[in-house]
Point group: C2
């Protein structure tokens, strides 16, 4: 049995366009690098942070990764102490699936170390319990793509059914991350409990054509279907100047625009890397004039999910 | 210019599974055979019924086909009298797109006769206006598949955007048509104006995986995604013994069950033609014990839509 292992888990975009709670994709941006060590013991979980910028709670029951480790050990009935060394490349509460990446990394890592051979669905189910602690709801649309890579679809939650979409599209993602904090469970609470039927139909049409576009590799239709009639209209007020950012992005040539997860990250999709960078610089400058600092990342859809590193 | 033409338009299944108002497919069952004759004139529209069993209104402004002809002539600015001879193979108000088939047939036929070369989108837009007169709402999920064949997706209604799904699946459709009448606009009125968010998410997951399954030709996933969490639960009370019919069908081996359009037709999907027939006989007998007579049809998804016949 290996006694130490190092895992990288990608940042993910969830709530993709009209796919609230059901559609996410993996990016080439690494969110978390996690080192796991195990030793015989009584399921003591020790959390260490590498770097202080985005330190996570060291109390395991307050930490996504800690809870996921506990759930994993419980599921496979293994008695070990686990030391989790977390290096966050992207902060928590960004909308880029940071807590999901932690949970994905530890379940993936333990499955490797303990040779437990749990399948993807089982790993996701365990990781979700960690995620629930941070988001306040069981949602899998960051965990599934972070673990599996590519686009993943949550067909249903009870029972959990994940569909990995096999085809992929060639586009670039500008991520604009303004320096503000949105609490995920608060972002969930502002959502209305019921939705007008005409919005449901509008969203369904775009969702269906978005999925068709991804399946067939039709980039033009993908961009044109990347619209959210239900969630973004309710949540965009959480992001300062959302409408202006979207307008600037479209004026500069972005092909789609939206929130990532529950924000504050927003994304603009383009056909070229250069254009994504240009739009990023523009949006960052715009926010600066409003006294809001921001980070930008330019990345791509990634086919690989959580993986071992040397 | 041709002076007489004969057109067949297929019966269609709309509101397919979780795809209310946006997804329909064409069947091998012919709904309408329409003969069109034109002569120079002042846009007089004369409607004749072939057969009396399902006679349609002869006043053009009360007749789907009549309105569609009028809208067509108006759109292309042509002055002709049109004689429409309608032979209905399937009655109106069945949930099998009978009025849509009439509208599809006449716009297709006039486009051929007058060599007006309108594209599919334009034809659908014109035909919808006829359909609106009968259903009380502009919906295209019967007209589009009746005209184009196969599975069609209504991406959006304003502007109207149709996506023809290229891949197809090999399954059989049992159509059970009980001898009762449901008024389409009434069936629309009983629908609630707002939908609980958790149902929207449930429906989205199934819709997305259904579309993925159709696109990839994954029959098993298609059957498993053929669920409607929103519309059928509200409308099934319009169909006597809906739950019992569904239970019988599943017990006999049906892989999916649902309403067609706004009913009263229900459909059961199977992998074999024989099984579809067996289930049909069973369900028909069951309804007979409840003193309800019914017709059954066994058919398939058809790739051809509206077409000329000799």
């Amino acid at each position: 049995m290996q006694e130490s292992i190092k895992i990288a888990a990608p940042a993910t975009i969830s709530n993709v366009g009209p796919g609230f709670d059901i559609l996410g994709f993996s990016t080439e941006l690494i969110s978390d690098v996690i080192e796991l060590r195990i030793r015989k013991g009584e399921r003591n979980i020790i959390i260490e942070n590498k770097g202080r910028r985005w330190a996570t709670p060291t109390n395991p029951i307050e930490n996504t990764a800690g809870i996921a480790v506990f759930e994993f050990l419980n599921f496979v009935k293994a008695n070990f102490d686990v030391i989790i060394r977390i290096e966050k490349k992207i902060g928590i509460g960004t909308g880029l699936g940071s807590s999901a990446a932690s949970a994905a990394a530890v379940v993936f890592g333990l499955n490797e170390m303990l040779k437990t051979k749990l399948d993807e669905n089982e790993l996701i189910k365990i990781a979700i319990k960690g995620e629930k602690a941070s988001a306040g709801a069981e949602h899998a649309d960051n965990i599934a793509p972070s673990l599996l890579g590519g686009f993943t679809l949550i067909k249903g939650y009870s029972p959990l059914e994940i569909v990995k979409i096999e085809n992929h599209l060639n586009f670039f993602v500008l991520i604009l991350l303004p320096d503000i904090v949105i609490n995920t469970s608060k972002a969930r609470k502002i959502l209305k409990k019921t939705i007008p039927m005409n919005k449901v139909i509008e969203q369904s049409g775009n969702l269906a054509s978005l999925i068709y576009a991804i399946s067939k590799g039709e980039l033009e239709l993908f961009f044109n279907s990347f619209k959210d009639s239900i969630i973004v209209p309710q949540r965009k007020k959480l992001i300062p100047f959302y409408d202006e950012l979207q307008e600037h992005a479209f004026n500069k040539g972005a092909r789609a625009f939206g929130m990532s997860g529950a924000g504050p990250a927003t994304i603009a999709l383009t056909e070229s890397k250069e254009l994504a960078k240009t739009i990023g610089t523009e949006l960052k400058l715009f926010l600066k004039t409003k006294n809001i600092s921001a980070n930008i990342f330019v990345t791509k859809l990634s086919l690989s999910g959580t993986h071992l590193i040397k």
